[in-house]
Amino acid sequence: MHSTNYVLAFVMTMTVGVALVLALLSSSWKAKSKENEAIFNKRAILAAVKDHLGGMDPKTMSDEEVLEIFGQNVTQMALNMDGQEIDAAAVEAAGHKGGMAENIDMKKEKKKPEAERIRPLFVYKKDGKEFYILSIRGNGLWDEIWGYVALESDWNTVAGAAFDHQGETPGLGAEIKDNTSWAAQFKGEKIFDNQGNYVSIAVVKGGAAPSNPHAVDGISGATVTANGVGEMLERGLKYYLPYINKVDDSKKLSLN
């Protein structure tokens, strides 16, 4: 048996040594890690418009390309629930460091009361066309799911969608992310009907009629996750209605 003093000295030395090594590593890599995180998020946003990136795949393009596209073709703004644009200070005040729309942590927003939430909006410009990328978040089977939906300049037709999840079952619920042809179904769907009423896009178990512009097929074996996506779209896109109504008054503001 060692003496108590020895034990204390040993533990102290060890703790200090270990903490120093880790602090050194962590602080010297921190900037790069933060940058990686930001690029990861930007990649996810661009995945919603992946058919309009000039042939590049957001999964495989280099970090520099992501930053370049984001810097040149993307403008971003933060909106409150009344559809008003808010400034960086307000975004920071809402608890998102950095103050940019891309810094908005949707997970934090989801915990707030509905009336106090803020949303990011990304505008992607390519060859004279504009795409509006909306951010949505909801619940899957096990945990949260989220995604980005890109609308064409008519604020109605979906130009692309990309989803991700915290812990859905691989091969079943996780298909919302892994199976690109599932997400591709959303392309060309519409979120408003001909009269301009908001109808969103439903995910239909057993298959949607191809003629229906407001529905896509579900995922076999993953009904709860697929329903979660439908629910997330319905609720998530609705948050943007006040803003859409402001910029395009043919769309009715039906917040029910």
Partner: protein
């Protein structure tokens, strides 16, 4: 109501053993008889129930950038979490030994094993990644522990019975335990269909 929802969700729908396969080593090794499984299960509920809130406070007030130290110390998270778990286990051992020697005798040998039970650390890490608040983390800890307790009792009961069956010799013991756990996991998957909207959804 949130508290209760998270408890049920952690215990049944997202059972740490049967849905996430955490805490597998002790689960397989200590499930030979119901009696020992019972003791270990209780100890897990207890340790999970107290380490979760402590780790929550450490994470919130010590490690996070907005905490008391004002520094981002998340790189120390693993070390502090495991240190808390190890010392709590030690503490529980001391307390139980002093105040209830009979319980200590039935639990005694299993207590140190709990330190390296992945379900305990896993619980704390899930808590961080899901951003639970304080009361949610207490509920998650107790629920997760209870689910683990139920799962190990169930496996032990089956293993006691299956000893009298004609299992192929090479499959006897460990091999059978794996397959049984797989079957139980599938059975628990039927709980998955339960609408999380009604059970676990807190935020919409």
């Amino acid at each position: 109501m949130e508290f209760f929802n998270i408890f049920i969700k952690a215990a049944f729908i997202e059972n740490l053993v049967l849905a996430y396969f955490l805490g597998m080593c002790s689960y397989l090794a200590v499930s030979k008889t119901v009696q020992t499984a019972f003791g270990l299960g209780l100890a897990v509920i207890f340790v999970l129930g107290i380490t979760m809130p402590i780790n929550w406070m450490i994470n919130e007030y010590l490690l996070s950038e907005n905490g008391l130290l004002g520094m981002d110390l998340t790189f120390l998270r693993f070390i502090l979490f495991i240190a808390v778990i190890a010392s709590m286990v030690q503490l529980v051992e001391l307390v139980v030994e002093k105040f209830s020697p009979s319980l200590y005798n039935s639990l005694g040998i299993f207590l140190p094993l709990i330190t390296v039970n992945c379900a305990i650390l896993g619980g704390s890490l899930f808590m961080v990644s899901r951003e639970y608040n304080f009361s949610e983390s207490v509920a998650f800890g107790l629920g997760g522990g209870f689910g683990w307790f139920l799962a190990i009792i169930a496996l032990a009961a089956i293993r006691e019975k299956i000893r009298y069956s004609a299992v192929p010799p090479a499959l006897r013991g460990l091999g059978m335990a794996f397959i049984l756990t797989g079957l139980m996991g599938m059975a628990f998957m039927s709980l998955m269909g339960i609408d999380p909207q009604a059970l676990g959804d807190l935020t919409h």
